[in-house]
């Protein structure tokens, strides 16, 4: 008999309880910790990206005594120009009436004359007139002119209230209309560019507006009364009203970011048409930053699509074969082996793909393309031959091993295609398939292209798709398949009519998980492509994905800067996408499990 009241036993009972509570506490802490960590990553990304979309703050404050104008509003004219202007009687021109300050830009001087701009070259002894170009409608007059930092854009305001940005070129046509901020509105009397930034202020009778060269108007408010003096060293606008100096503090660190500049083609300087571009400039550079996310999103989806194009048929085919055709003993060996493929690090796959596979495919391009067409045909042919074989031969190979019959055929054709590749290329494409593709189909060829990424990343996602799809198929209650076969269904009919409809959602979720992995995969895309932010469908051209872009640029972005925040915003998009895909896949799998339970219970 156990004496439950003895101190030793009571102590043990107490210890048991304490241990149980401790374990419960620890395990729930771990669980909650994981959830909190995932949420914290999301919250961190949101917090880091949020300032991008907050509107600029412009506020008037008393200026610190003794503050000086570091950047005057009107830059002095180049020496000698005044004399030249007198000699040329330019004073008589409407330029004098327009009050628009001449602007020096790109070694040239731009004068406003009525509705036209005159370009003077300043390289010779005396200024030389290069051209006179209309920039607003003939009945309008230019009221203000400003050159943006970086020296490639001119902003022109007219007396109907129009405001336009023109990009400047070194040769005719000299000017190209980039942005029309507005056609009509309050007449702008003065334009002031902020020092070392691509922002400018426009003053009209009603108030003051803050514009960014690409994003357009970012703020509008009342202009302080009195007279503007200039910008101080921190970029605040100093203003004198009735003898008191005020400072207009302008806080717009991420003014160039808006939904439009992130996702739509933008009229960048130096390009004829609006473009989708991702080209971050180094920190502290006055060049236009080009933060178009569309090419990156495109590259991410393109890489994933080509990977799935290869992986889905192969992985699902393997899963069907393994679940329905393979003898159990063989399946138990093959499944773990395939899943071992998943343990291969992405860096290794990427390295092999970029430095070994890419040059190899390029050398055997004709053979490789021929294989893509021929391989399925060869498989069909081999299958057809199998049914024509004498029955005695066929009996030597049990059905589960029938795949072996295919192997020599595949090996033979791959060897044949690679061997014949140079000959094919010489016979059909004058020995230069790449040149032929470029000339006749207009397809560029990058050595590290979507095809290579598709092969490498497809290889990497096959194991996860295979494992999940196989689980879903072999998890179908055996009674279903057996019942179908007992009623005389063939294996194919059992698979297609019974197993697949039952396991369909599980197979779908397997593909979704594969897609999630392909979208988030970093190292393979980074190493197997040239990371070119192109938007093309062609399998022979490269791409740049969100994840690879983060790996390349995030270590070097200045924390808190626009570039850094845009990168974290793209990370947030990636996070949300994979989160959504994985959650959807998980929900589908849950429903499937419930269905299996019901099916099994109905037995």
């Amino acid at each position: 008999m156990i004496d439950y009241s003895s101190p030793a036993v009571r102590l043990r009972q107490r210890w048991r309880q304490v241990r149980d509570r401790l374990a419960t506490l620890l395990i729930s802490a771990c669980g909650i910790g994981v959830i909190v960590a995932v949420l914290a990553i999301g919250v961190f990304l949101v917090v880091a990206a949020w300032p991008l979309f907050s509107s600029p703050r412009v506020a008037s404050e008393p200026a610190t005594p003794g503050v000086e104008v570091a950047y005057p509003l009107e830059a002095p004219l180049p020496a000698g120009l005044e004399a030249w202007r007198r000699d040329q009687h330019l004073d008589a021109l409407p330029y004098a009436l327009s009050h628009a300050q001449p602007q020096a830009l790109g070694g040239r001087l731009w004068l406003a004359e009525g509705h036209r701009l005159t370009i003077l070259a300043l390289d010779g002894e005396a200024p030389r007139r290069l051209a006179r170009l209309p920039v607003v409608e003939p009945e309008r007059r230019i009221t203000a002119l400003a050159a943006l930092a970086g020296g490639r854009s001119l902003v022109v305001a007219d007396d109907a209230g129009g405001l336009r940005r023109w990009t400047v070129e070194a040769a005719p046509p000299w000017l190209r209309l980039a942005t029309e901020y507005r056609d009509r509105g309050p007449v702008i009397q003065a334009l002031w560019t902020l020092p070392e930034s691509r922002l400018f202020l426009a003053r009209d009778a009603a108030g003051l507006s803050l514009f960014e060269s690409l994003a357009g108007q970012r703020w509008r408010g009342e202009a302080p009364g009195g007279e503007a003096l200039g910008f101080d060293a921190e970029g605040g606008l100093l203003w004198r009203d009735a003898g008191v100096v005020q400072r207009l503090a302008i806080d717009a660190p991420h003014a160039e970011i808006s939904w439009r500049t992130l996702w739509l083609p933008q009229p960048y300087e130096g390009h004829a048409a609006p473009q989708q571009r991702w080209q971050s400039a180094g920190e502290g550079s006055l060049d236009e930053p080009k933060y178009g996310l569309a090419p990156l999103a495109w590259g991410t989806l393109k890489a994933a699509a080509y990977a799935l194009l290869l992986a889905v048929p192969l992985a699902l085919g393997a899963a069907f074969f393994s679940a329905c055709y393979l003898p159990r003993r063989l399946r138990e060996r093959i499944k773990p082996t395939l899943e071992l493929m998943e343990a291969l690090p992405g860096v290794v796959i990427g390295f092999v793909a970029g430095l070994v596979l890419a040059p190899f495919v390029e050398r055997h391009l004709a053979g490789g393309l021929a294989l893509i067409v021929l391989l399925p045909l060869v498989m069909l042919l081999a299958g057809g031959l199998w049914t024509r074989l004498p029955a005695a031969w066929r009996r030597c190979l049990p059905l589960g091993w029938a795949g072996l019959w295919l192997m020599p055929w595949l090996a033979l054709w791959i060897a044949l295609a690679l061997w014949a590749s140079p000959w094919l290329e010489a016979a059909l494409f004058d020995g230069d398939l790449r040149g032929w593709l470029e000339a006749s189909l207009g397809l560029g060829y990058d050595q590290r292209n979507a095809l290579i990424v598709g092969l490498a990343m497809g290889f990497a996602v096959i194991p996860s798709i295979f494992a999940l799809a196989e689980d879903a198929l072999s998890g179908v209650p055996a009674s279903l398949g057996e019942g179908a076969q007992a009623l005389g269904a063939t294996r194919w009919q059992t698979l297609w009519k019974v197993l697949l409809p039952a396991a369909g959602p599980g197979v779908f979720s397997a593909v979704m998980i594969g897609a999630g992995r392909a979208v988030g995969e970093t190292m393979i895309v980074l190493m197997a492509t040239g990371n070119t932010a192109l938007m093309s469908v062609s399998p022979l051209e490269g791409m740049r994905s969100f994840a690879a872009n983060l790996a390349i640029e995030l270590p070097e972005a200045v924390p808190g800067g626009t570039h850094y925040r845009v990168l974290l915003f793209s990370a947030l998009l990636l996070f949300l996408f994979t989160f959504a895909v994985n959650t959807l896949a998980e929900l589908v799998r849950r429903r499937l499990k419930r269905r299996y339970r019901q099916l099994g219970a109905g037995r």
Binding site: S280, R434, D446, T532
Partner: protein, 301 residues
């Protein structure tokens, strides 16, 4: 004499050359920093150089935040980077030129093109063509009729010093084409060009391998300059740049022994031998003496 030695010995021991030395900055300088660090560690066993090399743009923020004491950079600091440093510390950073780097454009070893002009390189790599090229160069046969095929372009990622130098010097500040591959590391660029008979890419001259050839540059007078150490030092080869080591040292402050030992090693004959060994261009002895004098490292100063 003996007394002096007895007094001096404990003094020396009180400020030993030991401890961790953090360096954050240029990827181009990584191999140099590593070798200099190893040499210093061999000489003073207590020293540990901790090196993080992901691009010149990472050096100034690390110096400002105080997370590193050495900031190797493959370009001079920009005005805004200097301003941020001065705002944080109250004095400008100390720049020490440590070597020269010549950037070269590489082609596959079987490519017969010997030299290109900067305008041609701009027409190959840029789609703004600010250097004045009328049309983009898309195919090798536009350069040499005997060649064929489209040009494949390789380059570095946008935060690297090489990217900035090529952009400034060869593209006149214009934009790279979108199909210029952005690879991680100069060695990756050279490896990609070595594997691609139609490839052209830029990297430091020190990364020259047997699989690639470095192109000469055709000047305005029509003569070609080979990318060599002599040409870079003489200023004849335009695609060269000085490499800097930035330090956080207040004016008038005595050198901390560890930094002093490191910079002395870098500017010594032994340190410059490492520079040459790794394919960079060593500074001439006269220049080194001048730098040492300016830094107050010259004996007897």
């Amino acid at each position: 004499m003996l007394l002096a030695w007895l007094v001096a010995a404990p003094l020396q021991a009180s400020s030993p050359i030991a401890g961790p030395l953090h360096s954050i900055g240029s990827e181009t300088l990584a191999s140099l920093m590593l070798r200099w660090g190893e040499t210093l560690e061999a000489r003073h066993p207590g020293v540990r150089l901790q090196l993080q090399a992901s691009g010149s743009s990472t050096a100034p923020p690390a110096l400002v935040a105080g997370t590193s004491r050495l900031g190797p950079m493959s370009r001079p600091m920009s005005e805004s980077e200097r301003a941020a440093f001065i705002a944080a510390h109250g004095y400008p950073p100390l720049a020490v030129p440590v070597a020269m780097d010549a950037l070269a454009f590489f082609v596959h070893r079987d490519n017969p093109v010997e030299a290109l002009s900067l305008a041609q390189l701009d027409a190959i790599f840029s789609d703004t063509r600010r250097c004045g090229g009328a049309a983009p160069l898309e195919r090798w046969d536009e350069l040499r009729p005997t060649l064929s095929g489209g040009i494949s372009r390789y380059g570095r990622n946008s935060a690297s010093g090489s990217h900035g130098v090529v952009r400034r010097l060869a593209l006149c500040g214009g934009d790279f084409r979108l199909d210029v591959g952005e690879l991680m590391g100069s060695a990756a660029v050279v490896a990609a060009v070595a594997n691609d008979p139609r490839g052209i890419g830029y990297a430091g001259l020190g990364y020259l391998t047997p699989g690639v050839r470095a192109l000469g540059l055709v000047g305005d007078d029509g003569g070609a300059v080979r990318p060599t150490a002599e040409a870079a030092l003489a200023g004849d080869y335009p695609l060269s740049r000085p490499l800097y080591l930035y330090l956080n040292l207040a004016p008038g402050e005595p050198w901390p022994p560890l930094e002093r030992a490191f910079v002395e090693l870098v500017l010594s004959a032994e340190g410059q031998a490492i520079v040459e060994e790794l394919g960079f261009v060593a500074l001439p002895p006269g220049r080194l003496t001048e730098i040492r004098r300016r830094l107050g490292l010259e004996p007897g100063h």
